[in-house]
Symmetry: C2
């Protein structure tokens, strides 16, 4: 189902001439490279986001990989037997595993942070996050097969390289994860997404799934895995996806080496319903709200709460979670729902949501303590204004 | 150095008649059972808190354990060869390991939360936390020696029992930790604290050290370890050390089974210097501040920041960390220091501190989202008012 884009005139010099067809309902944040959110009302309709609605975060043109010719290399520090596996060899040589895991862009909710104080980057709203069932093979099985000693103290990081290539400079997308996370049983090289072959926009034929970690490390169109004592030298590992202090402002020198690369995500939650500016009749007495919560590192969501008085009092929302995952290994997101009473005598109300995870981390009230020039990892309380009509 | 308390008349019916002598500088929160904080200025003087100044959190009278007769039992689900080890056997049969690890009471900073809205419990200020070097043997080594299969999926929790006993009901102190944490290499049965035999107040002769986890699970006077499919039935596991929603108020029914037991601590930081109400001369132009930061789960502190304008702007503090630990396995606390400019034209200033951990979790601004009736796990921004004298 990867139909070529039909255009009247294809500019053969446009590196984006061969992009996949996308569902027209996607909310586009950028065309080239393509970046789009899931429509919020569709997002909370499904515990596992259908593939065509899964948010898309591309850094470069989508490569058109021939699955019959694609190979995955495993090499580098501590690898005794380098691997060069076809997709069929990968599928047939290692035990398949299934895991439902959310992926969230580190720029999700950047527009909320920008409203607090201007930041730089794609203005993602609240739905640069989705949840899917992934099928693949354990990265640890591949590494052990290549002769890696799980207790090798020299190996610190695992580099990942995608088949997507910068059309101006020729660099492929790259990232790395800690060796310990690479050896953890939840980290898989996936070849199926919601029981279908992974679509082109999501990494066909192979995507690394690193549950509990930010999207940028879950490399799509995966073609090489390299073990090392240092992090990936890739632009996206070294000069992006790091969160500066609030004291670093526009125009200041960015000392990337002084801040760690993002790996695990902090606790997050947001409303998908209602949308800002929605209007509700006072006669309905209550308003239905819905959204998602998630935290990095497998830390399960233990509660989601909603306030209509700016955080003085809270109502606990009903939640839906993956029954196969426990609170210490909760890779999947949590969906929430509540029916919230409309306060008397007001023309508008502010809905606030915040979640708590298994380590009792919670979200900050505003962006005051987390604001950063690149607008990354905004997880302040999500607030939505609703009009009350008589 | 465990000298008997000298009193004029010892009431032999008083279960607290045989308590150890304590350093007079400790700030006592309660006498029976004994609970005391480290004086704040002493706390930041030492990266490893000296034993006599280490905060004390006892639930019951301090047992007087004869080290030559004491035995540690290992038994329960999946144990093929139950153990009953003397302290000497423990020391001589397993490899010794050293780890510097902070212990924080889940009630630390309760008084700050109580100032937001009244809570129930001992009114700990900011220094129910300390950091020490522990020496002992890996719990995983003991468990494997007892025949436990590390991949046994039936074993979910490890119960810990102390020699301290409730003088009214006869129940010993107990708690449990997840099996996965028990098998983690940082979890040790310690017999030394800062290179000395563990003092009576801190668990002589054996204390379980569970780095990254709340103090209540790091059982002192450890006498039994029992593997199980469920959590410890102990009062302190089941009916205490769980954090209710802010919607649960004084007088409400406490449905303990609906909230998870505390294990990992959320991100925390606080000032030790200055103390609230301190006065500083305007002519000094700057004020020196110092304190600690720490996060559960081994998540290292990546920055500590200080504000004098309520969080609009931030200054990064200098930090001291354990050079032997990395940001993914940071069990030790972080000490911070800064010299902060005194603002012009004000009679008083409010200092604010907040920290960020490796997963980019931060502290909430106030107790609004974390208030709970038992006043546990308060990690709101710590604020201290200082007077400026002309
Ligand atoms: Mo991202
Ligand atoms: Mo505690």
């Amino acid at each position: 189902n990867d139909i070529k884009v039909e255009t009247k005139k294809v500019d053969v010099n446009d590196p984006y001439a061969n992009e996949p067809v996308r569902h027209p309902a996607l909310v586009v944040a950028n065309h080239k490279p393509f970046n789009a959110e899931t429509p919020p009302t569709l997002l909370v309709d499904h515990f596992r986001t259908p593939n065509e609605f899964f948010f898309v975060r591309n850094h470069l043109p989508v490569p058109d990989v021939d699955v019959s010719k694609h190979h995955l290399q495993v090499e580098g520090l501590g690898v005794k037997r380098p691997l060069n596996l076809s997709v069929d060899e990968l599928k047939n040589s290692f035990a398949p595993v299934h895991i439902t895991s959310a992926i969230q862009c580190s720029g999700n909710r950047r527009a909320n942070m920008n409203a607090y104080k201007k930041v730089q980057g794609l203005m993602w709203k609240e739905t640069a996050i989705s949840n899917a069932k992934w099928t693949g093979v354990r990265l640890r099985d591949l590494l052990i097969h290549s002769g890696v000693d799980p207790n090798d103290k020299q190996i610190k990081h695992v580099h990942l390289e995608g088949a997507d290539k910068d059309p101006t400079g020729g660099q492929n997308y790259g990232a790395s994860i800690p060796f310990e996370k690479a050896m953890s049983p939840e980290t898989i090289v996936a070849y199926k997404m919601n029981d279908e072959d992974i679509p082109r926009d999501h990494g066909a034929p192979l995507r690394l799934i690193v549950p509990g970690v930010v999207g940028a490390r879950q490399v799509k169109w995966l073609k090489a895995i390299r073990l090392s004592d240092v992090e990936s030298p890739s632009h996206w590992q070294q000069k992006d996806y790091r969160v500066f202090s609030a004291s670093v402002n526009a125009g200041d020198e960015l000392k990337w080496e002084t801040v760690p690369s993002i790996q695990e995500y902090p606790i997050q939650s947001a409303f998908c319903i209602p949308q800002p500016g929605a209007a509700v009749s006072r006669s309905e007495e209550t308003i239905d709200v819905a959204g998602y919560a998630w935290s990095g590192g497998g830390r399960g969501i233990i509660r989601v709460e909603i306030s209509t008085d700016g955080g003085k009092t809270w109502q606990t929302a009903d939640i839906e979670q993956d029954p196969q995952q426990d609170q210490e290994h909760m890779w999947s997101w949590t969906l929430f729902k509540a029916s919230v009473k409309i306060p008397e005598g007001v023309d508008q109300m502010e809905l606030v949501v915040k979640a708590t995870d298994r380590s009792y981390n919670t979200q900050p009230e505003t962006s005051a303590g987390i604001w950063n020039i690149r607008g990354l990892l905004n997880n302040a309380w999500h607030k939505v204004e609703v009009k009350i009509k008589d």
